[in-house]
């Protein structure tokens, strides 16, 4: 048992559902009690999704507990099959079904005999893997399933496309700025003359998975979701992959050079050096920014970084290598993949912290007193408490981190966005200090703006106490309206009853 207030990565089924709901026409069925379908709320709220989230629950209640699910799971699968006609139904175990130890595999077997859609059971164990690992595994599982199916049907497409092409593996629903990243990667590939064969799973159809092998290579932009699939495809079809995240100017160039090598090995003759040069010097503003006076002022400023592997590692490198900022420590909550992280950032920070305990991270921030924090929403709140600015660079995130405007983190436009994020965090901090030194924006006492400043009215102690219970941002309005109400009725002492009478009368 562990005392916990906050977690960075969600439970396993969230990962599976993120994959299922990313594909087109794939339905997730959770074997779970009432209330575990909170995923639908998150999807609908955070992504402001216009369509119903294709996830339903096969409810585990008292009856299931005493008699087992029996026909229930099978019925739910066949029902969903006839209602929605999905291509694939993914039965998703939860923490509850993990300990019920029902033979879900058997239910899947039985259901798929009567359904038009394919049915699989997500191979994830709640107690062994988290959201990210489960997503990585579920994606691999679905790809394997459809590759095997195509093999059996004899319609697997293995011949390479005539022109260089790529599969982009990993962008999902509820991924941090993923939809913008995909658009930026599409543009980057178009600029490089590379055709997009498939983007998986975001917006893809499972019926297209049989054509995955025809791409020349796979691009895996995120460390957390996609690598298992890329390795599987490499093993199976000798399809190479690039797993360098194109985040920041240097890493984007490195990613493009790696792509160049892979394509040339397969007989293309591409040279991207001029492209990299012109993008770096003229299109992206990040390189110029690093030479500008603004960035000079950031030299040696202290920052800390915390997030998932992909974003925390990339941001650490950008801060240190591209901006001359002193990263006191960099950390990740991907404990299961900590060695990779340590290897990535060891030359770019003083210290590496690998933990999923938000308390330890809060303490580590307080200890080094950085000028800016780059972390998750949790670090943003630590920053608020410590009066330190924070740029959010990784999940867990909330609705603010699903901007409508175009805000990729990857590619050359991504490097521009990151410059703004970093620079704005620091200047705000700077302004704050200057204000403190010079004693704030406005040193004059604020004189009452309202007309009722000289009140002829008295508030009784109970009235005043009740007034003080009203949240600060509406209190003065309520006070004003109540006093107006009292004056109109010649009430000279405002007590709690007058307060509420006024509320009823004028809706104060």
């Amino acid at each position: 048992m562990k005392l916990a207030y906050w977690m960075y990565a969600g439970p396993a089924h969230i990962g599976t559902l993120r994959i299922a709901s990313s594909f087109k026409n794939v339905h997730g069925i959770m074997h779970a009690p009432i209330g575990d379908d909170y995923f639908n709320v998150m999807r609908s709220m955070l992504e402001r999704e216009r369509n119903f989230t294709p996830v339903t629950t096969s409810v585990v209640d008292r009856h299931v507990l005493s008699r087992g699910s029996q026909e229930k799971v099978v019925d739910n699968i066949t029902r969903k099959d006839s209602e929605e006609h999905p291509d694939l139904i993914v039965l998703t175990p939860t923490c509850t079904s993990s300990i019920l130890q029902e033979d879900l595999e058997n239910f899947v077997e039985r259901a798929s005999q009567t359904t038009v859609s394919d049915v699989i059971l997500a191979d994830v164990n709640h107690y062994r893997v988290n959201e990210l690992q489960a997503a990585d595994r579920t994606l691999e599982q679905i790809i394997q399933f459809y590759i095997a199916k195509a093999r059996k049907n004899g319609d697997l497409v293995t011949a390479k496309t005539p022109e260089p092409s790529v599969n982009i593996l990993g962008p999902t629903t509820l991924g941090f700025h993923n939809q913008h990243d995909v658009r930026e990667l599409r543009k980057l590939m178009a600029d490089l003359g590379i055709t997009i064969n498939a983007v998986i799973p975001d917006g893809a159809s499972v019926n297209d998975l049989k054509t995955l092998p025809q791409a020349w290579f796979n691009l895996v932009p995120y460390r957390e979701i996609g690598p298992l699939t890329a390795r599987y495809l490499q093993q199976e079809f000798n399809q190479p992959f690039v797993d360098i995240t194109p985040m920041g100017v240097v890493e984007t160039a490195r990613c493009i050079r790696q792509i160049q090598t892979l394509l040339n090995q397969q007989g293309a003759t591409v040279n991207y050096e001029d492209f990299i040069q012109s993008q770096t010097l003229h299109v992206s503003q990040a390189a110029w920014f690093s030479r500008s006076i603004d960035c000079q002022n950031l030299t040696g400023k202290k920052a800390v970084v915390f997030g998932d592997n992909t974003h925390a590692a990339a941001i650490t490198k950008i801060l240190s290598r591209e901006m001359g900022i002193h990263v006191a420590w960099a950390g990740t909550y991907c404990k299961y993949d900590g060695d990779w992280f340590r290897e990535q950032v060891k030359d770019f920070c003083d210290e590496v912290i690998i933990t999923d305990d938000h308390g330890a991270i809060g303490d580590a921030i307080a200890r080094v007193e950085p000028a800016a924090i780059f972390g998750t929403q949790m670090e943003r709140h630590v920053g608020k408490r410590l009066d330190t600015p924070c740029g959010v660079i990784a999940a867990p995130i909330h609705i603010q981190n699903f901007p409508i405007g175009y805000k990729p983190f990857l590619g050359y436009e991504g490097s521009n966005q990151i410059v703004d994020l970093i620079y704005n965090s620091f200047t705000l901090g700077m302004e704050d200090h200057l204000l403190e030194i010079f004693g704030g924006h406005d040193t004059k006492e604020v004189i009452h703006k309202g007309i009722s400043a000289d009140s002829d009215l008295n508030w009784t102690s109970d009235g005043l106490a009740e007034l003080n219970k009203i949240p600060g941002f509406v209190r003065s309005k309520v006070k004003r309206n109540t006093e107006k109400f009292a004056r109109e009725r010649n009430i000279s002492h405002i007590n709690v009853e007058v307060l509420y009478a006024a509320k009823e009368a004028v809706g104060a």
Binding site: K2, Y5, D36, N51, D61, C95
Partner: protein
């Protein structure tokens, strides 16, 4: 259902598959820890529970809440670790860090399935660490959303002092008073002479303090004294409950608490409609007056006054239809109020329908429908959201009151929605807050007015 048809004579009850969206009942910790200021809520469950709380409670999680997860690990599930020792370790840590007056253990689906004997462990551990431990099994196997509060309050009801220890209570309160530097108690201070002579009355249901004040005042106008409130602001101030006391509920989801008060504390339950909307509030006060043998004064005028002040909002909703998908058990009361406002209710979805506890409310719904010439709606227990969406598609209601999972997709299909959970967190009880309820109900309609004639109501590709 058209007006031409003869209206059915009685309410129509139906039941579907129970495949609906609602919050897990452990969400009650979010409002109860704020209400009971000296408590600490420990949710004994898994990452799934923690993830829900963390996300559902939004920014509150950053305010160092007095609640936490006791996150079960694989060793706990397979009983390699000893439950008692594990819980003892965590509760000692909580005692050290926060020193609460009570620790509430929230049992979850997992503790049910692995049959962790929380009720058995609690008294033993309580003796050892010296802090009361209250056990509430607020799990998703048995309950929905607000019923979580019901399980906690039912457990609290057993802890309310009896008169036998009143001297001790006095003493404890005296110390409390000292600690508060003589701060006045939050109950309305009033000399007993303002009250009529009646048997003691205790109200149950957790409400924000301003609403407690308002309802207490409302009864005071009738000369009725509220002897106590379950829950109180502090665990140490739980009300005295003696055999023969009268009790009344303020919320429709408190059946277990009502049952516990009747059966175990031998109280007399005043079965009244709930004080939601001016009609409900009046009926609630009247029923309490009647039972306590008091002639109600000036209620009709007061109700009329409130209705008058609502007229601008009523104009917006009169004649409009509303569909409750059902997720928080407030549905019957809200529907009854909206019918009185002149709306037509097409369906009342509800997770669980206790016809005995809600009897007076159901009767008021029926009579309201008859008086307003409104067809009697179907009450759909354990609804099936998929089927409901088909019905919504057919009926095209003016307003759907639903959870966040369906709200955006419905809006994109041109159907106005109001997020149901807001009704549980907003102040909706009593005469004074009737306007707040309508503020919520009319918001989508006012938004529609503001954005009228832009021509972009339906924003999905294939409808």
């Amino acid at each position: 259902m058209t007006l031409a048809e003869a209206a059915p004579q009685a309410l129509n009850f139906d039941c579907e598959t129970g495949n609906y969206h609602t919050f897990c009942p452990i969400s009650c910790v979010a409002w109860l820890y704020q209400k009971i200021e000296d408590s600490f809520f420990l949710v004994i469950g898994t990452k799934t529970c923690g993830y829900f709380l963390q996300n559902a409670m939004g920014v509150m999680i950053f305010a160092e809440p007095r609640y936490a997860m006791a996150e079960l690990e694989e060793g706990d599930i397979s009983a390699q670790l000893n439950d008692y020792n594990e819980l003892k370790r965590l509760c000692e840590q909580i005692k050290r860090d926060r020193n609460p007056s009570v620790i509430v253990w929230i049992g979850t689906c997992t503790t049910e399935i692995i049959k962790m004997d929380l009720e058995g462990l609690a008294p033993k551990l309580e003796g050892e660490i010296g802090i009361p431990i209250v056990v509430a099994r607020a799990n998703g196997l048995d309950y929905a959303f607000t019923q979580g509060e019901d399980t906690v309050l039912a457990a609290m009801a057993a802890r309310c002092p009896t008169k036998v220890v009143e001297s001790e209570t006095e003493e404890r309160n005296a110390i409390q008073k000292l600690l508060n530097f003589g701060r006045k108690k939050d109950e309305i201070a009033a000399t007993d002479t303002e009250y009529k002579d009646h048997a003691p009355l205790v109200l149950f249901g957790s409400l924000p303090d301003p609403v407690v004040t308002q309802l207490t005042l409302e009864l005071k106008r009738q000369g009725i004294k509220v002897s106590g409130w379950l829950p109180a602001k502090r665990y140490t101030e739980l009300p005295v409950i003696e055999e023969g006391y009268y009790v009344a509920g303020v919320n429709p989801f408190l059946s277990r608490t009502a049952t516990t008060l009747m059966r175990r504390r031998k109280c007399k339950l005043i079965g009244a409609p709930f004080p939601i909307g001016p009609d409900g509030t009046r009926a609630w006060v009247e029923k309490i007056c009647t039972v306590l043998g008091i002639e109600p004064q000036g209620l009709a005028e007061r109700e009329a006054q409130i209705w008058e002040s609502l007229e601008d909002y009523l104009q917006l909703i009169r004649g409009k239809s509303v569909f409750f998908m059902g997720d928080n058990l407030l549905e019957i009361s809200l529907a009854r109020f909206l019918v009185r406002c002149g709306m037509t209710v097409q369906e009342i979805g509800i997770p669980y329908m206790d016809k005995r506890y809600q009897a007076a409310e159901l009767a008021l719904l029926e009579s309201t429908c008859n008086e307003m010439g409104s067809p009697l709606p179907t009450i759909m227990e354990k609804p099936d959201n998929y089927n409901q969406l088909q019905r919504i598609q057919d009926l095209q209601p003016n307003l759907v009151i639903t959870g966040m999972a369906h709200a955006n997709p419905l809006e994109a299909r041109g159907i106005s929605t109001k997020w149901s959970v807001e009704f549980t967190f907003a102040q909706i009880h009593g005469f004074s807050n009737a306007r707040d309820v309508l503020e919520l109900v009319t918001r989508p309609l006012r938004r529609n007015q503001a954005l009228a004639n832009l021509g972009w109501e339906k924003l999905v590709a294939d409808v």
